[in-house]
Subunit: 96 residues, 4 copies
């Protein structure tokens, strides 16, 4: 069950925006399956992969932004600098 708005660490709008976009991504992935099943020309399918990738990357950025603005800033302000190492590790993974 979904947490109530009060206890969530994301603003409600951000959260439902991400959920809507993820649902759309699911549909895009299903679309790729259909294209492969129907033997659509590969180049067109590869183009569709790029859309999915861009959409996923977009949600991930939104999530990271929410994470930094809430958790990370809060913890730094409370003097917990361990969160900084964690953030750097996360960024490192996102950029290969």
């Amino acid at each position: 069950m979904s947490k109530t708005i009060e206890t969530s660490h994301h603003p409600y709008a951000t959260k439902s925006d991400m959920l809507v976009r993820l649902r759309k991504i699911e549909g895009q992935v299903r679309g790729i399956s259909r294209m492969i099943d129907e033997d659509i020309y590969c180049d067109n399918i590869l183009h569709q992969f790029r859309s999915v990738e861009a959409a996923i990357n977009g949600v991930r950025k939104t999530l990271l932004e929410a994470h930094v603005k809430s958790c990370v800033v809060g913890q730094i302000q409370e003097g917990n600098l361990q969160v900084v190492d964690e953030l750097i590790t996360t960024i490192g993974k996102m950029t290969r």
Copy 2:
């Protein structure tokens, strides 16, 4: 409806392998939605994004390989070199 094996430009095994993997990716995306909905700690969700990205990239490589080995090689052998420009454009997009 799915084309019969004979007319498909992918080997049957490659095609069903890709479809299985795409179905799994759909499930992974749904899993991210659930994690966001349940307010799981962001860092864990960001990790999940990386799995999805890797899985998508894997299917895309399989598709590109099938494309090159069937369509591209065939067209080159028939003297249609336009397919080469198209391939280069495709690779260019895949590598940013």
Copy 3:
């Protein structure tokens, strides 16, 4: 010593174009060293990294294109399909 134009597998124009761009990239890298040495604000330096990355990626694409259009196409036409596996491995590495 540089090979003569006749024996090179790249058109002469492509080759000198790539060399000019690589020399410029060397200068850009040296510029980053200077910025770090002079304690320029990091965000500006990170921007400079992106320029270098884009420039390197550009040369790499030119090289790959020349490679595909000369070596790969030629070998396929001669019936040597092993070059295709090699190309797929190369593309796979370029896209992570």
Copy 4:
């Protein structure tokens, strides 16, 4: 001229480490020029590009880490949250 250690916002060790690595990258780029000039087989050169990319990405991560640990944390602790938006923009650019 280089700033003195006292005024630099990077620890001295980090700074000289980055400078050494950038100098090595310059050499690697020069190596690629030489390979192209000498008509080395493209696939080998493309491999070399990956080394350069990895090395550049490594320095960039070190710089970002130093940036976050000094500037960003410091500004957040002083209540200047504008630095957070800037960081998010920077990360966004690094991850496409």
